[in-house]
Symmetry: C2
Subunit: 196 residues, 2 copies
């Protein structure tokens, strides 16, 4: 609930709503802004990996520049984000969910599931951030809990209620927009937080 100061014009309210709505479509941007904030504030070192592509042809119009003229997207073999926080390896994937009833398992590639299994096995903190657009809710889900369902749940998608019960709601803030390290603090570093 946002309380506007007196005298604010209606148009501004509409703009704000639009911006909130647009925000819904760009979870990835919000995560990137959050990671940049963590980097700038010296809290963590977490980056988005570049999109994996296969380069087929490159033109060199002059010595100092190169233009890729033919390339194709590759199936990702790992998750999109990783880095370091408080000495621990951090590794996660983020996904938007359009459905208001369930999250389709097919949204996450089998290679990414295998990768997250290895992350856990080797002692990293693996998780998934899922945004349910309809509810404007962003959940932090520990990878082991999600993978248990991925491997055993009898249907092709996991109900929204499962995320409510097993995920951790990440409250929306402005700086940073998606403060997922707060959840990590609570789950993995109970004694302290990153805000000192």
């Amino acid at each position: 609930m946002i309380h506007y100061p007196k005298g604010i014009k209606k148009t501004q309210t509409i703009k704000l709503k639009e911006s909130f709505s647009k925000r819904g479509m760009i979870l990835e941007d919000d995560i990137n802004i959050t990671n940049q904030y963590y980097l700038d504030m010296d809290i963590a070192n977490i980056h988005k990996k570049p999109t994996p592509i296969t380069i087929v042809n490159v033109d060199y119009p002059n010595r100092s520049s190169a233009k890729i003229t033919e390339a194709y997207f590759k199936t990702p073999s790992t998750t999109d984000y990783n880095g370091i926080y408080r000495g621990k390896a951090i590794d996660f994937e983020c996904k938007e969910c359009n459905s208001k009833t369930s999250f389709p398992f097919a949204s996450i590639h089998i290679h990414q599931i295998e990768h997250l299994k290895r992350v856990i096995k080797h002692g990293g903190i693996g998780f998934i951030i899922i945004r349910f657009k309809y509810y404007q809710e962003v959940y932090f889900i520990q990878a082991d809990k999600f993978i248990e369902q991925y491997d055993n749940y009898p249907k092709k998608s996991l109900p929204y209620q499962w995320f409510q019960a097993n995920g951790h709601l990440i409250p929306f803030s402005l700086t940073p927009p998606i403060d997922y390290l707060k959840v990590i603090d609570a789950l993995y570093f109970k004694e302290t937080t990153h805000e000192k």
Copy 2:
């Protein structure tokens, strides 16, 4: 020293030599083979990041395929390799060195140096793998030691002798070709090794 069984033909020896020589030019391939070995043997989960590019134009000749027709290489803001080993975040850059007397600091981008500083600060294991082609030697160099020189050494390149004295020679083996985790075991996990 390789001992050939009787009856092996000269041509095969030459081919082997060529392959060793070619190996010299492809440190990155050897690191990738090594990482795949670590992955297959469930020793570590370490990957090369995709090359960072800016995509300008994509053609969609049909619904299921996408062809990138214009893209450009970006300056890397992080190192090329990272992952997890024994619960620790691993982060490194690898470089070939053509000079037999010194390694030019300019070979490593300032952003990568800043990144490695953050890796160390947040508790990860950061390092550089440098191959001196002339000597067919591959060195493991702890990032903090290298950065100390990068920030203070009065010349534009660091002498080969410095690497001999401060680096850790990674012996060449076949599986995996560049077993850098052995150096990490010795430096960071003195009590045990990954070979049990």
